[in-house]
Amino acid sequence: MVDNEPPDWSLMERVAAGHATEGQRAAVEQWIGGDPERRALFELVRRIVAGTRDSAAPTFDADAALARARIRLGLPSAATPSSVSPSVSSSVSSSVPPSVPPSVPSLPMAVRPARQRPARRPMAAPGAPGIWRQAALAAGIVLAVALGVTLSTSRPVAPVPGRTFVTSRGERASVLLRDGTRVALAPATRLTVPSTFDAGHRTVALEGEAFFSVVHDARAPFTVRAGNVVATDVGTSFDVRAYAGDRTVAVAVRDGRVSLAAPATSRARPVSLGAGDLATVTRDTVLAVAHGADVTELSAWTGGRLVFRATPLRDVVTAVARWYDADLAVGDPSLGSVPVTASFEDERLDDVALVLARAVDARVARRGSTLLIVPTGSRP
């Protein structure tokens, strides 16, 4: 290999080991510069690092060791406080609304790109049952600490009756339900599984965002209650987004069929969604369905990738801040509605902020520990 510019081993190692900045990665790419030998060298370095990372190590049973430690140290065995379960399960069941009678007219529908449109005839405010949410919130605060344990061990967790699974901002989790359904939780999310959940009766409550891969069972539909919406299916994969601060609940179906209802209004008949459908439901229960949505993009977060298409900057910033648990905000209201198309995978927050600022012809300013996206001409 002709080395008029010898390889910077330390730099290549940094990039391969995932400890590099955007600038350092760019520097390595620049050094490689299309030279196949340099490319091959760097790829070998990557393989060495990745191979070492993935080398099998002997496994040890942490749960068993912890159980012994609890006895030895006299720790309370209630890392899963049972005193909370009854209130969680009872609050969930109390929020179950009466079943929707089949003869009522269907929800007003519009089919167009997924954007919220106010109802022509304002409907009664749904009064989304906050009971389960508040109880789950209270339970969640107590349980979040203990559950943070199981959630962080990167193994799917089989739930104990009447549990709430909580992720904080900047945290993801994976839950395996008793029927085999897998749920991926996004940051700042609460999934409540009542004590009555089993293979014959499958209902969960969600606040936040989750992707459900539901085990098929025609006899026992799987139901997700999120915000003012109930999504039911028999065996499907779909994403539900129902953050408390959002104005809408969104359901996107990847495979199968999902039946969507907003039971808070008695005039509703469930709407059936198929693969590629994205439904958004407002508080007034106006439902909009967009067909041919890229659900893979919408659910790319389950693979660690955030994708935004023509999304207003303020919404992008909200999502990014939650994903990274960051102090990131739009510093000028005029920028908030500018549409942004971008995707992020492994970047550091600082780099993401730069990309977003550039996308709207703005810049990043720091105010204390907060990163702000501000117009270029504004004062620092």
Partner: protein, 198 residues
């Protein structure tokens, strides 16, 4: 608010991670105040990697578990006065584990520091990969085993456990510059050993 690696996206829950999101420095404060759930979180998060690391150091499985369990128990028993001096919890734990491992070796009069005979890193099972991938994995394991012990230790801490240079420096009780040199040296040696694959 130092709950996790600042500025980094959330860890993939499906992939084993040594550095836990939602833990770290926040746990230290809570453990000092006697919060058992934070202690248990730390236990479950670090038990596997610390045992694996100690097992490499001393060449034994069962004893490595005893040493790690002792470490955690000591932390809990002395929690009120616990003031880890290292910048990160992970750095503290790996350093403490290593110290225990080396002391254990010393007391048992065995000279096997990061020994050749320690459980070799078996090639990760790659059922879907072809023969080339398996060959590479086997050659990589052999190349690692062929590194000088401290070189290998630094490289393993860096690539297998994801420790930063500073954390490795505190674990191995050497200067950060020395860590960088060890890793660079190890990488170059591995590259030569594996040149048939590049």
């Amino acid at each position: 608010m130092n709950r996790h690696a600042r500025g980094r996206p959330p860890a993939d829950p499906e992939r084993p991670a040594v550095a836990l999101v939602g833990g770290g420095d926040d746990w230290v404060a809570r453990i000092r105040h006697g919060d058992p759930s934070a202690f248990e979180a730390m236990y479950l998060a670090y038990y596997q990697p610390l045992c694996a690391f100690v097992a490499r150091c001393i060449g034994e499985r069962d004893r490595s578990e005893e040493l790690v369990q002792d470490l955690f128990c000591r932390i809990w028993e002395g929690r009120e006065a616990w003031r880890p001096a290292e910048a990160t919890l992970r750095g503290y734990l790996f350093r403490a584990a290593r110290n225990r491992a080396l002391n254990d070796l010393k007391h048992r009069r065995r000279e096997r520091e990061f020994a050749e005979s320690s459980p070799p890193a078996e090639p990760a099972p790659t059922p879907e990969a072809g023969a080339e991938a398996r060959d590479f994995a086997a050659a990589l394991a052999a190349a690692l085993a062929g590194l000088p012990p401290r070189c290998r230790e630094a490289c393993v801490l860096r690539w297998q456990y994801g420790l930063s240079h500073a954390e490795i420096a505190t674990t191995m009780d050497v200067a950060v510059k020395a860590v960088e040199a060890l890793i660079t040296r190890g990488l170059k040696a591995m590259r030569i050993a594996l040149s048939a694959f590049g």
